[in-house]
């Protein structure tokens, strides 16, 4: 069955469809001409240089990075205790609480963005950066709860109980026993939350203002008016980041986590 010719052909075509476009983008990034062309004309790094000299791209890259790191850290600080509480015995309302933490994933992105805009920027008069940060904390919480939750499910809590029965306080047992045992889950959760915050478009779209925007948003407005290999060069840089993140996830949680 597995070696059926038609099946193999379908698989090859699908993978060409999945990988081809990104490879094409990669190739166009090294164009030496002024316009997008494939196959690329000549070979140069001029578009990479252009990206690094662009104030807009560099500023928004910095903002995206800061927001993604800070939002993920905040979500970890409030998410780890919650995931820990959720992984312990059943108690009333556990399912409801779990669903509350997962709910940001269910709300359509643009609705999230609009709601954040109305509440944080209009109603509470928060600054754009702070609003963006709060919005992204909400967006990444589900990833933290899920990934850390699944690492806690695999943890044998009897080792924690052993520490407590030997005289450690609950808090000490958590930091000395539980946390070190879920480190790989925490790292993977960080990576997944980071990339999902970094790549977010629909919510960030509503939370930009004078001088504050994220990289995907500035890329979007750039491609609406320009058609040159600068975006290809930026794409290559972002894809390199994705490869690095995937590598870290594979080394910690394992990519097979995605199929669960």
């Amino acid at each position: 069955m597995k070696n059926n010719k038609i099946l193999v052909l379908v698989v090859i075509l699908v993978y060409v469809f999945l990988c081809g476009p990104l490879l094409i983008i990669g190739a166009t990034a090294f164009n030496s001409g002024n316009i997008m062309s494939f196959p690329p004309k000549g070979f140069s790094f001029r578009w990479f240089a252009m990206v690094f000299q662009s104030e807009t791209f560099m500023t928004t890259l910095g903002i995206s990075f800061q927001v993604a790191v800070l939002a993920t850290l905040i979500a970890l600080i409030i998410g780890i205790p919650a995931a820990y509480a959720l992984s312990r015995k059943n108690y009333r309302g556990k399912n409801i609480v779990q669903n509350i933490f997962i709910s940001p994933i269910i709300v359509p992105g643009v609705v999230l963005g609009f709601a954040f805009f109305r509440f944080l920027i209009i109603k509470l008069q928060f600054g754009v950066f702070l609003s963006l940060l709060i919005g992204h904390v909400i967006i990444v919480i589900p990833y933290i709860i899920r990934v850390i939750g699944s690492s806690l499910d695999n943890l044998d809590f009897s080792i924690e109980e052993a520490a407590v029965s030997l005289g450690a306080t609950k808090l000490r047992a958590f930091f000395l026993i539980v946390l070190p045992n879920i480190t790989s889950g925490v790292i993977a959760a960080f990576m997944l939350a980071f990339i999902n915050s970094f790549n977010n478009v629909p919510a960030s779209l509503f939370l930009t203002g004078p001088g504050v925007s994220t990289l995907p948003i500035s890329m979007m407005s750039y491609v609406e008016y320009n058609y040159d290999p600068a975006i290809s060069a930026l794409s290559v840089i972002l894809m390199a980041m994705t490869v690095l993140i995937m590598f870290i996830i594979e080394k910690t949680l394992g990519l097979s986590h995605f199929t669960k």
């Binding site: 476009p21 709300v107 709601a115």
Partner: protein, 275 residues
């Protein structure tokens, strides 16, 4: 651990989510239901009677359904192949599906702009092959949005089905074949029905993802092919028509929830039948 301290650990997270997610959403939704005397649905009735809004809603649903069907059609055989490959190949194929999943959606849509655009790869191939005398407009059409959406969500479908395909015993297929079924029949009679649970999970993700996507329809659909998400952004930020944007938010949330709920209902019936 005492129940009390468990609740204590949950409180910071719950406060943040309730205050910064539930409150803002209620704040946009509640006013749409307020009338002069109590609750009114008039804003929704107006929305559903408006031909322009309906055409956008229909387009969004149509794109979602077609994308989901294509993803099922391609996802079933591919995920089966991935699941049954040797560990090394399997890891490689999974990584190749996860990679686009973690790549920025702007990058992924931009890739299709360069392929389908006026001076794009498809056009230059067709013109140089003398199939067309002048470039054809593939970009800024509904089909472009569908191609971009399949590209965006097919990895998700493959990934959500590999786990289910893993659990299908090879013996079943061999048994069917030894009893005289040819490969195609065996595929549709054995693998297809057994993969339904994974297909359902994947379909919910693909449909709701396509239905609510902003980047792809914005970049590949252009101004003519407005969908609900791009309409919401226009209403909220370009036209500052917050009431209409709120009505749209409610419509999007309700349809998303209805789809998730009803597909899961169908799924639970399958489980009961033991498929």
């Amino acid at each position: 651990m005492k129940a009390k301290s468990i609740y204590l650990l949950l409180i910071p997270g719950l406060i943040v989510v309730v205050f910064f997610l539930f409150v803002p959403i209620l704040m946009i939704i509640v006013p749409t239901l307020k009338g002069d005397q109590g609750i009114t649905l008039s804003r929704y009735i107006i929305f559903f009677k408006d031909a322009y809004y309906m055409s956008i809603l229909m387009r969004t649903v149509r794109i979602g359904i077609i994308t989901t069907l294509i993803c099922i059609l391609l996802g079933v055989p591919v995920s089966y192949y991935v699941a049954k490959s040797s560990p090394k190949i399997k890891g490689l194929l999974l990584a190749a599906a996860i990679f686009p999943q973690l790549t920025d959606s702007v990058v992924r849509s931009f890739a299709w702009m360069t392929i389908l655009g006026r001076n794009g790869i498809v056009n230059s191939l067709l013109v140089s092959a003398h199939l067309f005398t002048e470039p054809h407009m593939f970009l800024y059409t509904e089909s472009a949005i569908i191609v971009g959406s399949v590209y965006l969500f097919l990895p998700l479908m493959i990934i959500s089905m590999v786990g289910v395909m893993d659990s299908i015993e090879d013996d079943l297929v061999e048994a069917a074949e030894s009893l005289g079924a040819n490969k195609v029949v065996a595929f549709f009679k054995i693998i297809f029905p057994l993969s339904v649970p994974g297909m359902i999970v994947g379909s919910v993700l693909v449909f709701t993802g396509t239905f609510t996507a902003y980047t792809t329809p914005q970049l590949l659909g252009g101004n003519k092919n407005t969908v609900l998400a791009t309409l919401l952004y226009q209403k909220a930020m370009t036209l500052s028509d917050w009431t209409q944007a709120s009505v749209l938010s409610m419509v999007m949330i309700l349809i998303t929830l209805a789809v998730m709920f009803s597909i899961n209902k169908v799924a639970s019936r399958f489980y009961v039948r033991g498929v």
